[in-house]
Symmetry: C2
């Protein structure tokens, strides 16, 4: 088998091998991480806002004083100590004992990503349909692709997922006889749009899914990072059954520890544990101890406020810069929390085609196409404000605006018809006006 | 959906949910971890043999001095620093640049378990057949079950997997028209038998798989834990293509960090990275930095010697105790390394049925049935010697021998026919004599 090629492996063993495609975001990280580039492309928290000396001291003691347990194997579900801490964190969002949340129904995972993958692994068969916001989290698209499921996007507007569009999508799938398994949704400070599903729509979306017999997968990485008061209560706080709640410490503590969780309906919690054991045997005992000790001994609620304050200032810097510098015809969301702004370009501009020129101008973003399973979204881009400091954000927007002005000028010189371009391709690519 | 049951989820969404079954080992851990029980059931390394003060100090600095990178997101493949370290570790076993091993083809995983799961996810379709030693690693059975593949066991003797039996199994599968994707093998200090595939058989097994077009998944968690000189070179050291090599730091450093790896054929390495990103986004930056720094700054080769010395002493304690205390008709393997001894009970005894009485006598082991996909293996048990100290091992064997004597006496009183029992059920349950 010397010199075996990818084709050999694909043809002989599994066509799936060829089907695995990298996200567009991934290729960006290499260029976007060069120091001269202002990256608005990532989704990284501002770790430097943590008290790293105190965190380091805590991490050291977990090795020297508790290494015999923290460095050892653990159980698949995760430690009780951490699951109790997770319940405290969820209670802050209104998911408490009164609505049936219990450490017994929490499964600790390798970040929110594994939480989502486990649900997909348990429930999705090849060819199943998953409903998801359009646009949605790029990593979720990767999970559903790996499960050989098909994503059908449900349009959003500035109030989040549109309930009528959800009903229409369910009806359309029923008409074509395809099997819809669940709705995957990020209702609060959504990735990539920053939009939050309104109070009133939350109940309607839950009712629609309940009537249709759809599970709801609620992904909530950003819910505690609001800048303007409390977000509406999570979907899981409103229903005990039928909602899988996915959480993570990646945005509120540190992504490098890779600790997330699922709060699962009681009947299937044990099956998720078995699926997780097949994937990773058990989550890291050391990382679990780190998060549990952080929650038990350090002022994590105060740290949430620090993150919120830092991100609010950066969001304002981004919004101000966009207002001051963006060419006419550009619009964007005004997130009440989270890490991202979703921008809609002037008609005719294509964020994917423009990307190499943006990188040449030392600014990076994620083209909207990364957030749609069908490759639409070219008229949009995602801009991150959690990682770069305010002055870098403004400089990034300045560079980006320059690239866009030049694109517009080029199009005019070469006679492209304004108001028309390659980006208006699919139904899922039309939330622009509603989100603007 | 109030009061939704497992049946509701199973019937409505995926039969797979009901099919996910916990391993027998898992249920044991709760009882086996009680302090009054001598547990010969686990597979835990003796973490206390590590210099925990120095490790703790290192872990602390990774947070306080390098937290901005170690606690942040990383790339899916894992850090170059760690992948270079992994290549040094593999070179010690003979897998070096001369046989094509390169950091570029290493994918860092969440322990060896995720490494195996990724290969299964990429290559296995439901209904595919996987060949594996009989008995084999219980966690591998979980992976293949989750992939809806069928495991066909290939018998072993004291020289490891029997090449003629491998050929026969391949021929039998071809006759029935089933699709065999790969051979999963632990050639060195195997789990659960402790047996090592001989030098001569390694070449024959590779030739047979090559001719049949089977991939080889070589799992090597124990290869550097030999007590009597060097083990034969890994399969991957003998072939550049067609062999996926899975490694882990769980046995040679610390399982609580959950760091393992795959060395993949170049053509598919990138696809494994994409599959891993869909599962976990990226491995823990902190855990990777911990292992890389351990390899770069601490005497890891000396630590391997410490582990070997501790385990050799404990293996000897186990073998001596078995010789001194076991009832007539019991036999066992004599491993040259690793963590386990595989014992074959006197005819008529059933290790699974005996387990509750063993726990009542404050000793635990893993019944042989856990290591066969078809539930055979009841005439055997796995005994771990890496975790309990020598005097506890002897005490455990004493308790176990007492339970066995009583079982034998009970059978005689109630007239069970000796030499015949429930355990001789399937072809895969017959390596006993050859392994004895």
């Amino acid at each position: 088998m010397a010199g075996t090629t990818l084709d050999d492996y694909t043809d002989r063993y599994a066509r799936r091998v060829r089907g695995m495609k990298a996200s567009e975001i991934r290729a960006l990280f290499a260029v976007a991480s060069r120091p001269e580039v202002v990256s608005l492309a990532g989704g990284a928290p501002y770790i430097t806002a943590l008290p790293l000396d105190a965190v380091g001291e805590m991490l050291g003691r977990l090795g020297s004083e508790h290494g015999a347990t923290t460095l050892q194997y653990g159980i698949g579900q995760g430690t009780l100590e951490l699951r109790e801490g997770i319940c405290e964190v969820m209670a802050l969002s209104g998911i408490d004992a009164a609505c049936g949340a219990s450490p017994d129904d929490v499964v600790v995972t390798v970040g929110g990503q594994q939480a989502l993958d486990l649900v997909a692994r348990l429930f999705l068969d090849p060819g199943d349909v998953v409903l998801a916001e359009g646009p949605t989290y790029v990593g979720a698209l990767g999970v559903f692709q790996a499960a050989q499921a098909q994503v059908v996007h449900v349009p959003m507007d500035s109030d989040g997922l549109i309930p009528e569009a959800l009903e229409a999508a369910i009806a359309e799938q029923a008409r074509t006889g395809r099997r819809v398994k669940f709705l995957y949704t990020i209702p609060t400070y959504q990735n990539p749009t920053g939009v939050t599903l309104t109070e009133e729509r939350r109940e309607r979306v839950l009712d629609i899914c309940e009537r249709a017999g759809l599970l709801v997968i609620e992904d909530d990485p950003y819910g505690q990072l609001g800048f303007e008061g409390e977000a509406p209560a999570p979907l899981r706080a409103r229903r005990r059954e039928g909602v899988f709640y996915l959480g993570t410490f990646s945005k509120t503590f540190a992504p490098g520890l890779r600790v997330g969780w699922i709060l699962a309906p009681h009947a299937v919690r044990d099956k998720l544990v078995i699926a997780s054991e097949a994937q990773i045997l058990c989550p890291s005992g050391y990382a679990q101890a780190a998060v549990a000790t952080y929650l038990n001994t350090m002022p994590w609620r105060e740290q949430l406020k620090v993150y919120r304050e830092v991100y609010r200032e950066r969001r304002d810097a981004l919004l101000d810069a966009l207002t001051d510098l963006m060419p006419e015809g550009t619009s964007w969301t005004r997130p009440g929390g989270g890490l991202f702004v979703w921008a809609t370009l002037p008609a005719g501009l294509d964020s994917k085609a423009m990307m190499p020129r943006a990188v040449a101008a030392r600014v990076a973003y994620v083209p909207g196409t990364g957030f749609y399973a069908d490759g639409s979204g070219g008229g949009h881009m995602r801009l991150n404000f959690s990682f770069p400091p305010p002055e870098r954000i403004r400089e990034g927007v300045r560079r980006l605006a320059g690239v866009m002005e030049q694109e517009i000028a080029t199009r005019q010189v070469f006679g492209a018809v304004r108001g028309e371009g390659p980006r208006r391709r699919a139904g899922s690519d039309t939330p622009g006006p509603a989100l603007a």
